[in-house]
Symmetry: C2
Subunit: 278 residues, 2 copies
């Protein structure tokens, strides 16, 4: 479906029939990570809508909006095979019509991690999700844990603006060598791709250290940086231990905390994370 | 009712019974202007919720949050007499619980008129209205035309974030001498109050000029300033002719336009407006 009106009518019919509606927002270029979110939605809801919308307002200037991978026909085939009931793929004008002037901003938890480097990103994400939630009116919506800060932002917004939606989190799905699945992995050349597994090895070293009793963020950072440093093509943008809800920095592990990392390989920026002291 | 949960349950029951729900958000200190909005809601809906909530986030620092008039018991009596079905009067913590971090911002049409002088005001209004709309889930909501820019902001936000709510506008209700009713009129001392009728006389002079054929904003401003200038206690903050939807300045009347004015009498800031070339 291409228009909000079509989707609105469909979900109204489902709702009248007492169906529980699940929603998975995506930017397309679907991989097994996305499909695991779709499976979760299909388990938890009677009818599932997946949106495919490359939202321009969540890309900064100089980011990869123009080259973001697209594979619409393949995406549709995957979603049909998975058993999705509706794919909503609106145009930019359908979501942001002429005169559109509203933005939804979540402060505080957008100021660490990715928020420091992608200033307008989370405002773009929060705004488009508010719009999509209003169109689809789902009972549940599923987001991946790879985008941990996005998940926290969406949960905060849903609580604050009182959307009646349960936000479910899907686990990170990884390639055989541990690289977190991402549509942006397709940007990597073969040597970058080989070295990219270092990110997960670094995070795993942190898990190991914590299981041995380490609690100090700085010492965990040192160990992870050492592992990631073995890949000559890797440049760490940030490596930070934060509270998983507020995204505020944590210096010493006392409760579960999120160790989040962003690493550049050439122009490609990859993010990953792990919960420590779970 | 004091909590969102109570109101949510009540309106869910009404909705299940097929009732059309109307909503009038207020800050209390109710006068005949508010009551005319309530009447409009009662005519257009089966069940009407009125909120009384003095929203701290729509007052700037140095504004009159601390002294804003309150008359809770009188307000309740007036609303009961009017036939309102529910009064929602939440605490600040109920609307903005610990950790609240989200704001809804409407750009463009908040940058003229009051927006120039009350920088955070419309973000506060848009955010609290988004929250109240999510709690009450009304079919219609009624706002007064006296706050013309607020009306435009709410309409824009409702369109952009796709709330399924019809926004209705209530006409400005005036005292016998033409002063627009406002809770803030109670701040005026007797000489200020006497002179305050000059605002409406100024706007009426504009209507008269336009009916005689005048179309140039600057000449209309001159005439209105001359009338308002006859009140020694009046200081004009702004006087501007704008498009009623976009709030963008209009130099020459070709279509209906909003002539909006803000005038200080001592510390009291009064606003009023009229549609010209209707």
């Amino acid at each position: 479906m291409r228009t909000a009106e079509q989707v609105g009518k469909l979900v109204d019919r489902w709702r009248s029939a007492g169906r529980r509606i699940g929603f998975v927002p995506t930017m397309g270029a679907l991989h097994k990570g996305h499909l695991s979110l779709v499976s979760l939605a299909l388990r938890e809801a009677d009818r599932v809508v997946v949106s495919i919308f490359v939202n321009p307002t969540q890309f900064g200037s100089g980011e990869d909006l123009g080259s973001y991978p697209g594979a619409f026909n393949e995406d549709l085939a995957k979603l049909e095979k998975a058993g999705v009931h509706c794919v909503f793929s609106p145009s930019v004008d359908e979501v942001f019509p002429d005169g559109f002037s509203t933005s939804v901003n979540v402060s505080g938890l957008t100021e660490t991690l990715c928020g420091k480097y992608r200033l307008e990103h989370f405002n773009g994400v929060a705004t488009v999700c508010a719009i999509l939630f209003s169109i689809v009116k789902p009972d549940i919506a599923v987001f991946g844990r790879k985008d941990a800060q996005q998940l926290a932002v969406i949960r905060r917004m849903v609580d604050d603006l009182r959307f009646s939606i349960d936000i479910l989190a899907g686990e990170i799905i990884r390639e055989c060598d541990g690289l977190a699945m991402s549509s942006r992995n397709s940007y990597l050349n073969s040597s970058e791709r080989k070295q990219a597994s270092v990110i997960y090895r670094g995070l795993s070293r942190a898990t190991e250290l914590v299981s041995e009793g380490e609690r100090v963020a700085e010492r965990i950072y040192d160990a992870v940086r050492e592992v990631i440093g073995t890949a000559p093509l890797a440049t760490i943008q940030y490596l930070e231990l934060v509270d998983p809800v507020t995204m505020m920095p944590v210096e010493k592990l006392t409760t579960p905390a999120l160790l989040a990392v962003a690493v550049y390989f050439g122009h490609t920026r990859l993010i990953d994370n792990v919960i420590l002291n779970r």
